[in-house]
Subunit: 417 residues, 2 copies
């Protein structure tokens, strides 16, 4: 089994699109030890970078937020798919890592993650066989996944050969997966009780799918989730569980989750109140910067900083009001808004704000930039872009240099997509 | 230097998200030799597949189209970034492979591609140093790239240490990169002539950026490209070239390119009429199925078949008119339309058309499907999706099983993004 430390022994080569060609053959660890400058060290553009201080800050913020609110934390690993970041989250007390799919759980297991919250129903026999093999071979491994239908329970039970902990997923009409109401939850819980291999250990859901995105609507749904947990417990449905799992929480409403979960006590078993926010780790300069609870609802409880920046180069300015950067859909997210030019690095190494530049469109390998004719921007200059949506930023990069405030590259984060 | 053959010696592990967990540790070649069934062989969903007969058909079609129209062919490799597919394209007589960026060219070189048409201005000193090192170390290596500005020429000349062949890129006002008119082309060509290291060998551009997407407008622009080539030649601008490169051609207008380029003869040097279409290799079930010239303008000259299919699994059907597949933005393209459900595979292995299913939205790891309440679709069933846009399909997968008509997996194609 590989370890996170072994990732630094991977070699610089053509798999990693922005690494310096003159470093080919070195290990990533050796290259990191050279402490090259991002701009002068031979890195190719475009290059996605992780800003070390912002990353550290964000890891710190959610660690403390979860701790202060008595929440266990299983940050969603789908965001980064980076075992090195999982390691840092676990070192800061995270209970485990959340996954959306079995292939993600496989990556986590390859790097020794001991507790996985798989926030989906898993009905694939091949995946279930793999889960059973992992559970059987490592007594310390714990995996909890969703159930939301009788058919799902049947398919799972037919494929399993070991006990699997499950939580009933509560959804919302018009939303994503999960049972639509309490009656359906009972039917699924009955099916779990009647199964050979499934053990009901809790209730979970995702408040981000509540159609009306107001604090009242989200809180009302979270209260339903808590009430379902209490009712299941009162009905003895968690009799076989060692602890009761209650989980919710993306990046937009973790304050509401904390508030709703905090009073949950006095159940028949200890309660694991599990928060799953994932995007916080890098935050962003777009969608997530606006929806974080730290922005307007609970600014006194913490803050997040954008930790991703995509550095690109101007390859053409064929018209006074139009320039082209060498990054496109392969390099930058575009599902929750266009990248935002933040800073320009001139040929002499000086930095200036990218005022007046606007990315209007991405082609596969180009960003279309509109600017006023009098704005200075020369072919060859580097432009740093802020991004919107951490998940679709990470998934375009197999390897991301970690950069200090002064531009020194001190580490590399490997992702697996 | 790795070879394409060595790719089959890579090991099955967590890097490749859909491969059977029970094959872990085998080489890809060994797994291919097992000829597993895609559905029963332990592959995890979602899994993007390449349909072997369609791929073969498409390779065949453009090989013959280019040959019949006396076009040299440098298929755009950005589409697949798959050295195994480049090998097949080269074996069918392709002149070389087109790249959009230096990192793509690095991948090509790692797998021994001898001729690269880099369809962009390259002004990054690190990239230019790498290009010079490649040119110097391998006398058979040829690379041609764009110039579209005096500043670009200056930056290139300052960083180069070997002769680099360039073509002036002709653009179009309101379009992407490239000089906007003939006067600007002259100025750039003058700069090339005055440089130490650049050698002007031709003219190129991309007709897909002509704002008015009609045959007349595209043809008018192609005629300008040809006229510029003739004028440059008449002015003795290609005196140092061994042959004159004239290049255009994406996937939507290769018929117009063939028509415009065919009569180009009688220049001072042999002419390399270079077509660059890339998406044809897999074609698609969306955008490209509509814009290919074979669709309506020249159906008698060939045809293309969609060669990509994304197999997903139904993980939830929480409401009668709403189901969820386990594939999302990490797995399927969404920039030129949503994936299209084509076929459902039932628990008994039978296939039926996915009539009445519609993907309305993708989350990171889920597809939202609307369907009529009476449409049978059960949790656990597999749904095959047609995709729109080959480029943003390939770039979500590091490894793609190649599947025969009967569902047997006989090979794996590795991509590098």
């Amino acid at each position: 089994m590989p370890t996170v430390a072994e990732l630094s022994r991977e070699r610089v080569d053509h798999r990693f699109k922005s690494l310096p060609p003159d470093a080919e053959g070195r290990t990533l660890g050796e290259l990191a030890a050279e402490r090259r400058d991002l701009f002068e060290g031979g890195f190719l553009t475009p290059v996605l970078t992780l800003l070390a201080p912002a990353l550290e800050h964000n890891l710190d913020q959610l660690e403390h937020y979860a701790h202060d609110h008595r929440l266990a934390f299983a940050p969603h690993g789908k965001t980064s798919m980076a075992p090195q970041l999982f390691d840092r989250q676990l070192a800061r007390g995270a209970w485990g890592i959340t996954a959306a799919t079995p292939w993600q759980a496989r990556v986590y297991r390859a790097y020794g993650v001991r507790r996985i919250f798989l926030a989906n129903q898993v009905v694939d026999p091949a995946a279930l066989r793999w889960i059973c093999a992992e559970l059987t071979s490592d007594p310390e491994f714990r995996l909890v996944c969703y159930v939301d239908s009788v058919r799902g329970v049947e398919l799972m039970d037919a494929a399993l050969t070991a006990t699997l902990d499950v939580v009933v997923e509560l959804g919302v009409p018009g939303g994503r997966t999960g049972v639509r109401d309490e009656a359906a939850a009972d039917v699924v819980a009955d099916a779990v009780a009647a199964s050979r291999w499934l053990r009901l250990v809790g209730v979970a859901g995702y408040e981000g799918e509540v159609p009306e995105k107001t604090e009242d609507a989200v809180t009302a749904w979270l209260d339903r989730l808590v009430a379902l947990t209490r009712r299941f417990d009162a009905a003895g449905r968690f009799a076989e569980a060692d602890e009761i799992v209650l989980s919710a929480g993306g990046s937009a409403w973790f304050d509401a989750v904390a508030k709703a979960f905090e009073p949950v006590d006095g159940l028949s078993k200890p309660v694991l109140r599990l928060l799953r926010s994932g995007a916080y780790v890098t935050h962003d300069d777009g969608h997530y910067s606006e929806i974080t609870p730290f922005h307007d609802r609970v600014p006194a409880e913490g803050s997040l900083r954008p930790a991703l920046r995509l550095w690109t180069q101007v390859v053409s300015r064929p018209e006074p009001d139009r320039a082209f950067l060498n990054a496109g859909k392969r390099d930058a997210p575009y599902d929750l808004g266009m990248p935002v030019p933040q800073v320009i690095r001139g040929a002499d190494g000086s930095l200036r704000p990218a005022d007046g530049l606007r990315v209007t469109k991405l082609a596969d390998q180009h960003a279309f930039v509109e600017l006023t004719p009098e704005t200075p921007l020369e072919v060859g200059e580097w432009v740093g872009l802020g991004l919107s949506h951490p998940c679709t930023s990470f998934d375009k990069w197999q390897l991301i240099p970690v950069v200090e405030q002064d531009g020194t590259v001190t580490d590399f984060v490997r992702t697996f997509f």
